[in-house]
Protein backbone atom coordinates (compact mmCIF):
# COMPACT_ATOMS: atom_id res chain seq x y z
CA UNK A 1 0.00 0.00 0.00
CA UNK A 2 2.75 2.40 0.97
CA UNK A 3 4.56 1.58 -2.25
CA UNK A 4 1.43 2.21 -4.23
CA UNK A 5 1.02 5.61 -2.63
CA UNK A 6 4.61 6.45 -3.37
CA UNK A 7 4.12 5.44 -6.98
CA UNK A 8 1.03 7.58 -7.24
CA UNK A 9 2.90 10.50 -5.76
CA UNK A 10 5.74 10.04 -8.18
CA UNK A 11 3.32 9.80 -11.07
CA UNK A 12 1.57 13.05 -10.17
CA UNK A 13 4.90 14.76 -9.60
CA UNK A 14 5.88 13.57 -13.06
CA UNK A 15 2.82 15.02 -14.73
CA UNK A 16 3.22 18.27 -12.82
CA UNK A 17 6.77 18.61 -14.13
CA UNK A 18 5.54 17.68 -17.59
CA UNK A 19 2.97 20.45 -17.41
CA UNK A 20 5.61 23.13 -16.91
CA UNK A 21 7.37 21.91 -20.01
CA UNK A 22 5.63 23.55 -22.93
CA UNK A 23 5.70 22.22 -26.45
CA UNK A 24 6.56 25.05 -28.85
CA UNK A 25 6.68 23.13 -32.05
CA UNK A 26 6.47 19.64 -33.49
CA UNK A 27 6.88 18.34 -36.97
CA UNK A 28 7.04 14.93 -38.52
CA UNK A 29 9.91 14.29 -40.83
CA UNK A 30 10.86 11.28 -42.93
CA UNK A 31 12.84 9.95 -40.01
CA UNK A 32 11.23 11.04 -36.77
CA UNK A 33 9.22 13.61 -34.94
CA UNK A 34 11.19 16.79 -34.30
CA UNK A 35 9.97 18.51 -31.14
CA UNK A 36 10.86 21.80 -29.51
CA UNK A 37 10.16 22.14 -25.79
CA UNK A 38 10.71 25.03 -23.44
CA UNK A 39 11.07 24.66 -19.69
CA UNK A 40 12.51 27.01 -17.05
CA UNK A 41 13.86 29.27 -19.75
CA UNK A 42 15.64 26.47 -21.59
CA UNK A 43 14.61 25.52 -25.10
CA UNK A 44 15.45 22.03 -26.30
CA UNK A 45 15.19 20.04 -29.52
CA UNK A 46 14.06 16.46 -28.90
CA UNK A 47 13.28 13.46 -31.01
CA UNK A 48 11.05 11.82 -28.39
CA UNK A 49 8.29 12.97 -26.07
CA UNK A 50 10.46 11.99 -23.08
CA UNK A 51 12.44 15.11 -23.60
CA UNK A 52 14.51 15.00 -20.41
CA UNK A 53 16.60 12.05 -21.51
CA UNK A 54 16.63 12.61 -25.22
CA UNK A 55 17.72 16.21 -25.60
CA UNK A 56 19.52 16.81 -28.88
CA UNK A 57 20.32 20.41 -28.34
CA UNK A 58 19.37 23.09 -25.81
CA UNK A 59 19.67 26.85 -25.59
CA UNK A 60 18.64 29.59 -23.24
CA UNK A 61 16.80 31.98 -25.59
CA UNK A 62 17.65 34.97 -23.37
CA UNK A 63 21.30 33.99 -23.47
CA UNK A 64 21.58 32.01 -26.69
CA UNK A 65 25.35 31.73 -26.70
CA UNK A 66 25.40 29.73 -23.47
CA UNK A 67 25.95 26.01 -23.99
CA UNK A 68 23.33 24.17 -21.99
CA UNK A 69 24.51 20.58 -22.51
CA UNK A 70 27.69 18.98 -21.24
CA UNK A 71 28.41 17.02 -24.39
CA UNK A 72 28.47 20.13 -26.55
CA UNK A 73 30.90 21.76 -24.10
CA UNK A 74 33.14 18.70 -24.30
CA UNK A 75 33.03 18.69 -28.09
CA UNK A 76 33.87 22.38 -28.25
CA UNK A 77 36.79 21.85 -25.87
CA UNK A 78 37.96 18.84 -27.89
CA UNK A 79 37.96 20.92 -31.07
CA UNK A 80 39.68 24.00 -29.69
CA UNK A 81 42.18 22.38 -27.32
CA UNK A 82 43.44 19.64 -29.65
CA UNK A 83 43.87 21.58 -32.88
CA UNK A 84 45.83 24.70 -33.87
CA UNK A 85 43.67 27.28 -35.68
CA UNK A 86 41.58 24.85 -37.76
CA UNK A 87 40.54 26.32 -41.11
CA UNK A 88 38.39 23.49 -42.48
CA UNK A 89 35.85 21.83 -40.22
CA UNK A 90 33.32 19.07 -40.92
CA UNK A 91 30.41 18.36 -38.59
CA UNK A 92 28.29 15.24 -39.13
CA UNK A 93 24.92 15.80 -37.42
CA UNK A 94 23.45 19.28 -36.91
CA UNK A 95 20.94 19.10 -34.06
CA UNK A 96 20.10 22.64 -32.93
CA UNK A 97 23.35 23.87 -34.44
CA UNK A 98 24.94 25.28 -31.28
CA UNK A 99 28.35 23.77 -32.07
CA UNK A 100 28.64 25.10 -35.64
CA UNK A 101 27.30 28.48 -34.50
CA UNK A 102 29.89 28.77 -31.71
CA UNK A 103 32.72 27.56 -33.95
CA UNK A 104 31.68 30.07 -36.60
CA UNK A 105 32.03 32.88 -34.04
CA UNK A 106 35.21 31.60 -32.40
CA UNK A 107 36.96 30.74 -35.66
CA UNK A 108 35.70 33.32 -38.18
CA UNK A 109 38.32 32.26 -40.76
CA UNK A 110 37.19 28.65 -40.80
CA UNK A 111 35.08 27.07 -43.52
CA UNK A 112 32.52 24.85 -41.76
CA UNK A 113 30.65 22.08 -43.58
CA UNK A 114 27.73 20.44 -41.81
CA UNK A 115 26.03 17.21 -42.88
CA UNK A 116 22.46 16.67 -41.71
CA UNK A 117 20.27 13.96 -43.18
CA UNK A 118 16.95 15.39 -42.01
CA UNK A 119 15.75 18.63 -43.66
CA UNK A 120 13.25 19.09 -40.80
CA UNK A 121 16.10 19.31 -38.28
CA UNK A 122 17.77 22.04 -40.33
CA UNK A 123 14.48 23.92 -40.64
CA UNK A 124 13.78 23.74 -36.91
CA UNK A 125 17.36 24.77 -36.09
CA UNK A 126 16.97 27.89 -38.25
CA UNK A 127 13.58 28.79 -36.85
CA UNK A 128 13.93 28.01 -33.15
CA UNK A 129 17.67 27.88 -32.46
CA UNK A 130 18.87 30.89 -34.37
CA UNK A 131 21.00 28.77 -36.66
CA UNK A 132 22.31 30.85 -39.57
CA UNK A 133 23.99 29.07 -42.44
CA UNK A 134 25.78 30.87 -45.24
CA UNK A 135 28.83 30.58 -47.51
CA UNK A 136 31.20 29.92 -44.57
CA UNK A 137 28.78 27.57 -42.84
CA UNK A 138 27.21 25.22 -45.34
CA UNK A 139 24.71 22.46 -44.67
CA UNK A 140 24.45 19.41 -46.93
CA UNK A 141 21.30 17.36 -46.57
CA UNK A 142 22.62 13.88 -47.21
CA UNK A 143 23.48 10.69 -45.33
CA UNK A 144 26.76 11.11 -43.41
CA UNK A 145 28.36 8.01 -44.90
CA UNK A 146 27.46 9.04 -48.45
CA UNK A 147 28.90 12.53 -47.83
CA UNK A 148 32.15 11.17 -46.42
CA UNK A 149 32.66 8.77 -49.34
CA UNK A 150 32.04 11.55 -51.86
CA UNK A 151 34.26 14.04 -50.08
CA UNK A 152 37.04 11.43 -50.00
CA UNK A 153 36.72 10.89 -53.75
CA UNK A 154 36.95 14.65 -54.29
CA UNK A 155 40.11 14.70 -52.18
CA UNK A 156 38.64 17.04 -49.55
CA UNK A 157 40.61 17.55 -46.36
CA UNK A 158 39.54 18.81 -42.96
CA UNK A 159 41.52 19.97 -39.95
CA UNK A 160 38.80 18.89 -37.54
CA UNK A 161 35.93 16.43 -38.01
CA UNK A 162 33.14 16.29 -35.43
CA UNK A 163 30.89 13.23 -35.38
CA UNK A 164 27.56 13.83 -33.69
CA UNK A 165 25.00 11.78 -35.57
CA UNK A 166 23.67 9.69 -32.70
CA UNK A 167 20.60 9.77 -30.65
CA UNK A 168 20.24 8.04 -27.28
CA UNK A 169 17.75 5.60 -28.68
CA UNK A 170 18.80 5.06 -32.27
CA UNK A 171 22.26 4.74 -33.76
CA UNK A 172 22.73 4.72 -37.53
CA UNK A 173 24.80 1.54 -37.47
CA UNK A 174 26.67 2.26 -40.70
CA UNK A 175 28.13 5.33 -38.94
CA UNK A 176 29.74 3.28 -36.21
CA UNK A 177 31.97 0.83 -38.04
CA UNK A 178 35.69 0.47 -38.58
CA UNK A 179 35.21 1.04 -42.32
CA UNK A 180 33.33 4.32 -41.79
CA UNK A 181 35.90 5.62 -39.31
CA UNK A 182 38.64 4.69 -41.78
CA UNK A 183 36.86 6.68 -44.51
CA UNK A 184 36.58 9.61 -42.10
CA UNK A 185 40.30 9.29 -41.40
CA UNK A 186 41.14 9.74 -45.09
CA UNK A 187 39.41 13.15 -44.92
CA UNK A 188 41.65 14.34 -42.09
CA UNK A 189 44.62 16.54 -42.95
CA UNK A 190 47.97 15.68 -41.32
CA UNK A 191 47.60 16.46 -37.59
CA UNK A 192 43.82 16.47 -38.18
CA UNK A 193 41.61 16.05 -35.14
CA UNK A 194 38.61 13.77 -34.69
CA UNK A 195 36.01 14.67 -32.06
CA UNK A 196 33.19 12.16 -31.61
CA UNK A 197 30.16 12.23 -29.36
CA UNK A 198 29.48 8.68 -28.19
CA UNK A 199 27.94 6.63 -25.40
CA UNK A 200 29.29 6.36 -21.90
CA UNK A 201 27.47 3.28 -20.70
CA UNK A 202 26.06 -0.09 -21.83
CA UNK A 203 27.96 -2.88 -23.54
CA UNK A 204 28.33 -0.62 -26.55
CA UNK A 205 30.95 1.42 -24.67
CA UNK A 206 33.50 -1.39 -24.93
CA UNK A 207 32.81 -2.15 -28.58
CA UNK A 208 32.84 1.51 -29.53
CA UNK A 209 36.13 2.06 -27.73
CA UNK A 210 37.91 -0.82 -29.45
CA UNK A 211 36.47 0.25 -32.81
CA UNK A 212 37.81 3.81 -32.49
CA UNK A 213 41.13 2.53 -31.14
CA UNK A 214 41.47 0.13 -34.09
CA UNK A 215 41.45 3.11 -36.49
CA UNK A 216 42.88 6.02 -34.51
CA UNK A 217 45.10 4.37 -31.89
CA UNK A 218 45.16 5.93 -28.42
CA UNK A 219 42.71 8.77 -27.80
CA UNK A 220 41.49 11.14 -25.11
CA UNK A 221 38.20 10.34 -23.42
CA UNK A 222 35.97 13.03 -21.90
CA UNK A 223 33.18 11.53 -19.84
CA UNK A 224 30.01 12.92 -18.32
CA UNK A 225 26.52 11.72 -19.30
CA UNK A 226 28.01 11.18 -22.75
CA UNK A 227 31.55 10.34 -23.68
CA UNK A 228 33.48 12.44 -26.17
CA UNK A 229 36.44 10.88 -27.96
CA UNK A 230 39.26 13.16 -29.09
CA UNK A 231 41.89 11.67 -31.41
CA UNK A 232 44.56 13.23 -33.58
CA UNK A 233 46.53 11.96 -36.55
CA UNK A 234 50.26 11.72 -35.98
CA UNK A 235 50.35 12.09 -32.23
CA UNK A 236 47.95 12.97 -29.45
CA UNK A 237 48.36 16.50 -28.08
CA UNK A 238 50.46 16.63 -24.92
CA UNK A 239 48.98 17.90 -21.67
CA UNK A 240 51.03 21.10 -21.96
CA UNK A 241 49.61 21.68 -25.41
CA UNK A 242 46.04 21.22 -24.15
CA UNK A 243 46.72 23.52 -21.21
CA UNK A 244 48.16 26.26 -23.41
CA UNK A 245 45.09 26.31 -25.65
CA UNK A 246 42.68 26.00 -22.73
CA UNK A 247 44.26 29.15 -21.31
CA UNK A 248 44.16 30.88 -24.66
CA UNK A 249 40.42 30.25 -25.09
CA UNK A 250 39.47 30.70 -21.45
CA UNK A 251 37.99 34.18 -21.76
CA UNK A 252 36.30 33.51 -25.10
CA UNK A 253 34.72 30.30 -23.82
CA UNK A 254 33.29 32.00 -20.76
CA UNK A 255 30.68 33.72 -22.92
CA UNK A 256 29.45 30.25 -23.88
CA UNK A 257 29.16 29.19 -20.25
CA UNK A 258 32.12 26.88 -20.78
CA UNK A 259 34.72 26.56 -18.03
CA UNK A 260 38.04 25.85 -19.73
CA UNK A 261 39.84 24.63 -16.61
CA UNK A 262 37.03 22.27 -15.58
CA UNK A 263 36.88 20.78 -19.06
CA UNK A 264 40.63 20.29 -19.15
CA UNK A 265 40.41 17.99 -16.12
CA UNK A 266 38.07 15.71 -18.09
CA UNK A 267 40.72 14.78 -20.68
CA UNK A 268 41.73 11.24 -19.76
CA UNK A 269 43.83 8.58 -21.51
CA UNK A 270 42.88 5.79 -19.17
CA UNK A 271 41.74 2.62 -20.93
CA UNK A 272 38.60 1.87 -18.92
CA UNK A 273 37.01 -0.56 -21.34
CA UNK A 274 37.29 -4.21 -22.17
CA UNK A 275 40.03 -4.14 -24.82
CA UNK A 276 38.98 -7.56 -26.10
CA UNK A 277 35.50 -6.36 -27.13
CA UNK A 278 34.76 -7.18 -30.76
CA UNK A 279 35.46 -4.34 -33.20
CA UNK A 280 32.34 -3.13 -35.05
CA UNK A 281 32.55 -3.47 -38.84
CA UNK A 282 30.23 -3.23 -41.86
CA UNK A 283 29.93 -6.99 -41.45
CA UNK A 284 29.25 -6.88 -37.72
CA UNK A 285 27.44 -3.78 -36.49
CA UNK A 286 24.64 -4.58 -34.02
CA UNK A 287 25.19 -1.22 -32.27
CA UNK A 288 21.55 -0.76 -31.33
CA UNK A 289 21.30 -4.27 -29.91
CA UNK A 290 24.45 -3.67 -27.85
CA UNK A 291 23.22 -0.31 -26.54
CA UNK A 292 20.85 -1.65 -23.92
Amino acid sequence: MKRLLLLLLLATAGTAAQAQMSLLHSERSLYREVLVYEEDGTRCMCFTRQCRIGRQSCVDPRNPQRFALNYTRMMLAGTLFASEQPRRILIVGLGGGSLPTALRQLLPEAQIDVVEIDPAVTRVARKFFDFRDGPMLRVSEVDGRVYVKRAARQGKQYDVILLDAFDHEYIPEHLLTKEYLTEVKTLLAPQGVLVANTFSSSKLYDHESTTYASVYGPFYNLKRENRVIVARLGSLPTEEELLARANRYQAALKTYGVDSAALLTLFSRRVDWDASARVLTDQYSPANLLNR
Partner: protein, 198 residues
Protein backbone atom coordinates in the same frame (compact mmCIF):
# COMPACT_ATOMS: atom_id res chain seq x y z
CA UNK B 1 2.94 -37.90 -47.34
CA UNK B 2 6.67 -37.16 -47.16
CA UNK B 3 6.46 -35.44 -50.51
CA UNK B 4 3.95 -32.82 -49.41
CA UNK B 5 5.70 -32.45 -46.07
CA UNK B 6 8.89 -31.63 -47.93
CA UNK B 7 6.95 -29.14 -50.06
CA UNK B 8 5.80 -27.35 -46.93
CA UNK B 9 9.32 -27.44 -45.54
CA UNK B 10 10.74 -25.95 -48.73
CA UNK B 11 8.06 -23.23 -48.81
CA UNK B 12 8.80 -22.40 -45.17
CA UNK B 13 12.51 -22.16 -45.83
CA UNK B 14 12.04 -20.13 -48.99
CA UNK B 15 10.00 -17.58 -47.01
CA UNK B 16 12.68 -17.49 -44.31
CA UNK B 17 15.45 -17.08 -46.91
CA UNK B 18 13.77 -14.16 -48.69
CA UNK B 19 13.20 -12.06 -45.58
CA UNK B 20 16.59 -12.80 -44.03
CA UNK B 21 18.27 -11.65 -47.25
CA UNK B 22 16.03 -8.60 -47.48
CA UNK B 23 16.98 -7.47 -43.97
CA UNK B 24 20.67 -8.04 -44.59
CA UNK B 25 20.23 -6.11 -47.83
CA UNK B 26 19.87 -2.93 -45.78
CA UNK B 27 23.24 -3.65 -44.20
CA UNK B 28 24.89 -4.30 -47.54
CA UNK B 29 23.63 -1.10 -49.15
CA UNK B 30 24.20 1.27 -46.20
CA UNK B 31 27.95 1.89 -46.70
CA UNK B 32 27.38 3.31 -50.19
CA UNK B 33 23.81 4.59 -50.11
CA UNK B 34 23.15 5.29 -46.45
CA UNK B 35 20.22 3.98 -44.47
CA UNK B 36 17.65 6.60 -45.39
CA UNK B 37 14.03 5.67 -45.76
CA UNK B 38 14.36 5.55 -49.55
CA UNK B 39 17.10 2.94 -49.36
CA UNK B 40 14.63 0.67 -47.56
CA UNK B 41 11.99 1.73 -50.05
CA UNK B 42 14.24 0.64 -52.91
CA UNK B 43 15.03 -2.71 -51.30
CA UNK B 44 11.42 -3.54 -50.46
CA UNK B 45 10.23 -2.49 -53.93
CA UNK B 46 12.74 -4.73 -55.66
CA UNK B 47 11.83 -7.70 -53.46
CA UNK B 48 8.11 -7.20 -54.01
CA UNK B 49 8.50 -6.81 -57.76
CA UNK B 50 10.79 -9.84 -58.04
CA UNK B 51 8.42 -11.95 -55.93
CA UNK B 52 5.36 -10.92 -57.93
CA UNK B 53 6.99 -11.83 -61.23
CA UNK B 54 8.33 -15.02 -59.64
CA UNK B 55 4.78 -16.03 -58.63
CA UNK B 56 3.65 -15.65 -62.24
CA UNK B 57 6.59 -17.61 -63.61
CA UNK B 58 6.34 -20.33 -60.95
CA UNK B 59 2.66 -20.90 -61.64
CA UNK B 60 3.34 -21.10 -65.32
CA UNK B 61 6.26 -23.49 -64.98
CA UNK B 62 4.11 -25.79 -62.85
CA UNK B 63 2.00 -26.59 -65.93
CA UNK B 64 4.73 -28.75 -67.45
CA UNK B 65 5.61 -32.03 -65.70
CA UNK B 66 5.69 -30.68 -62.17
CA UNK B 67 7.99 -32.58 -59.81
CA UNK B 68 9.69 -32.34 -56.46
CA UNK B 69 12.98 -32.48 -58.33
CA UNK B 70 12.18 -29.32 -60.25
CA UNK B 71 10.98 -27.59 -57.10
CA UNK B 72 14.31 -28.41 -55.47
CA UNK B 73 16.12 -26.96 -58.46
CA UNK B 74 14.22 -23.69 -57.97
CA UNK B 75 15.43 -23.49 -54.39
CA UNK B 76 18.95 -24.27 -55.52
CA UNK B 77 18.75 -21.61 -58.22
CA UNK B 78 17.69 -18.99 -55.66
CA UNK B 79 20.64 -19.88 -53.44
CA UNK B 80 23.15 -20.03 -56.30
CA UNK B 81 22.10 -16.68 -57.76
CA UNK B 82 22.36 -15.10 -54.29
CA UNK B 83 26.03 -16.09 -54.14
CA UNK B 84 27.27 -13.14 -56.30
CA UNK B 85 25.85 -10.79 -53.64
CA UNK B 86 29.04 -11.36 -51.64
CA UNK B 87 31.64 -10.14 -54.17
CA UNK B 88 29.29 -7.48 -55.59
CA UNK B 89 28.89 -5.53 -52.34
CA UNK B 90 32.46 -4.23 -52.33
CA UNK B 91 33.84 -2.20 -55.20
CA UNK B 92 31.02 -2.79 -57.73
CA UNK B 93 28.48 -1.08 -55.44
CA UNK B 94 30.88 1.78 -54.86
CA UNK B 95 31.20 2.26 -58.62
CA UNK B 96 27.43 2.11 -58.99
CA UNK B 97 27.08 4.82 -56.32
CA UNK B 98 29.47 7.01 -58.29
CA UNK B 99 27.65 6.36 -61.56
CA UNK B 100 24.21 7.13 -60.06
CA UNK B 101 24.68 9.95 -57.51
CA UNK B 102 20.99 10.20 -56.57
CA UNK B 103 20.85 7.73 -53.67
CA UNK B 104 17.24 6.83 -54.43
CA UNK B 105 17.94 5.51 -57.90
CA UNK B 106 21.40 4.36 -56.92
CA UNK B 107 19.99 2.13 -54.22
CA UNK B 108 17.21 0.96 -56.54
CA UNK B 109 19.79 -0.09 -59.13
CA UNK B 110 21.95 -1.72 -56.47
CA UNK B 111 19.03 -3.65 -54.95
CA UNK B 112 18.03 -4.83 -58.43
CA UNK B 113 21.56 -5.96 -59.26
CA UNK B 114 21.98 -7.84 -56.00
CA UNK B 115 18.57 -9.25 -55.18
CA UNK B 116 16.25 -9.35 -58.18
CA UNK B 117 17.23 -12.72 -59.61
CA UNK B 118 17.44 -14.78 -56.38
CA UNK B 119 14.16 -13.28 -55.17
CA UNK B 120 12.51 -14.02 -58.51
CA UNK B 121 13.45 -17.72 -58.13
CA UNK B 122 12.26 -17.66 -54.51
CA UNK B 123 8.91 -16.29 -55.68
CA UNK B 124 8.54 -19.22 -58.09
CA UNK B 125 8.63 -21.67 -55.18
CA UNK B 126 5.21 -21.02 -53.60
CA UNK B 127 2.89 -21.46 -56.60
CA UNK B 128 4.97 -24.43 -57.72
CA UNK B 129 4.48 -25.99 -54.28
CA UNK B 130 0.73 -25.43 -54.53
CA UNK B 131 0.66 -27.45 -57.72
CA UNK B 132 2.46 -30.34 -55.99
CA UNK B 133 0.26 -30.48 -52.89
CA UNK B 134 -3.20 -29.82 -54.31
CA UNK B 135 -5.10 -33.12 -54.41
CA UNK B 136 -8.49 -32.04 -55.75
CA UNK B 137 -10.65 -29.04 -56.60
CA UNK B 138 -12.55 -29.06 -53.33
CA UNK B 139 -9.47 -28.87 -51.10
CA UNK B 140 -7.36 -26.66 -53.35
CA UNK B 141 -8.15 -23.44 -51.45
CA UNK B 142 -7.35 -25.05 -48.13
CA UNK B 143 -4.08 -26.40 -49.46
CA UNK B 144 -3.12 -23.04 -50.90
CA UNK B 145 -3.98 -21.40 -47.56
CA UNK B 146 -1.76 -23.84 -45.68
CA UNK B 147 1.03 -23.21 -48.12
CA UNK B 148 0.77 -19.42 -47.76
CA UNK B 149 0.72 -19.95 -44.01
CA UNK B 150 4.01 -21.87 -43.83
CA UNK B 151 5.70 -19.63 -46.34
CA UNK B 152 4.71 -16.37 -44.64
CA UNK B 153 5.33 -17.87 -41.21
CA UNK B 154 8.82 -18.69 -42.48
CA UNK B 155 9.22 -15.07 -43.54
CA UNK B 156 8.25 -13.90 -40.07
CA UNK B 157 10.75 -16.32 -38.52
CA UNK B 158 13.49 -15.20 -40.90
CA UNK B 159 12.81 -11.56 -40.10
CA UNK B 160 12.84 -11.84 -36.34
CA UNK B 161 15.73 -14.29 -36.05
CA UNK B 162 17.93 -12.24 -38.35
CA UNK B 163 17.21 -8.83 -36.87
CA UNK B 164 17.13 -9.85 -33.20
CA UNK B 165 19.85 -12.46 -32.99
CA UNK B 166 21.82 -13.45 -36.08
CA UNK B 167 23.32 -9.97 -36.65
CA UNK B 168 24.34 -9.90 -32.99
CA UNK B 169 26.20 -13.17 -33.27
CA UNK B 170 27.63 -13.40 -36.78
CA UNK B 171 29.16 -11.47 -39.70
CA UNK B 172 26.72 -10.58 -42.46
CA UNK B 173 28.58 -12.66 -45.06
CA UNK B 174 28.62 -15.70 -42.79
CA UNK B 175 24.87 -15.42 -42.30
CA UNK B 176 24.37 -15.17 -46.07
CA UNK B 177 26.54 -18.22 -46.74
CA UNK B 178 24.71 -20.20 -44.06
CA UNK B 179 21.35 -19.29 -45.57
CA UNK B 180 22.54 -20.56 -48.96
CA UNK B 181 23.89 -23.68 -47.26
CA UNK B 182 20.52 -24.48 -45.67
CA UNK B 183 18.83 -23.91 -49.04
CA UNK B 184 21.24 -26.39 -50.62
CA UNK B 185 20.42 -28.86 -47.85
CA UNK B 186 16.66 -28.58 -48.43
CA UNK B 187 17.24 -28.89 -52.17
CA UNK B 188 19.35 -32.01 -51.66
CA UNK B 189 16.58 -33.55 -49.55
CA UNK B 190 14.05 -32.70 -52.25
CA UNK B 191 16.21 -34.10 -55.03
CA UNK B 192 16.73 -37.30 -53.07
CA UNK B 193 13.01 -37.72 -52.33
CA UNK B 194 12.13 -36.77 -55.91
CA UNK B 195 14.42 -39.44 -57.35
CA UNK B 196 13.04 -42.10 -55.04
CA UNK B 197 9.43 -41.40 -55.95
CA UNK B 198 9.95 -41.70 -59.73
Amino acid sequence: MSRSLLCYGIAFWSGFFVMAIELLGGRLLAPNFGSSIYVWGAIISVFMLALSLGYLAGGRWSLHTPSLTRLSLLLLAAAATALPVLPLTGEPLERLAIAIPDPRFGSLAAATLLFFIPTFFSGMVSPYCVRLIVDGDATSGRRAGQLFFVSTFGSAAGTILTSFYLVLWFDVNDILLSLMGVSALFAALGLFAGRKST
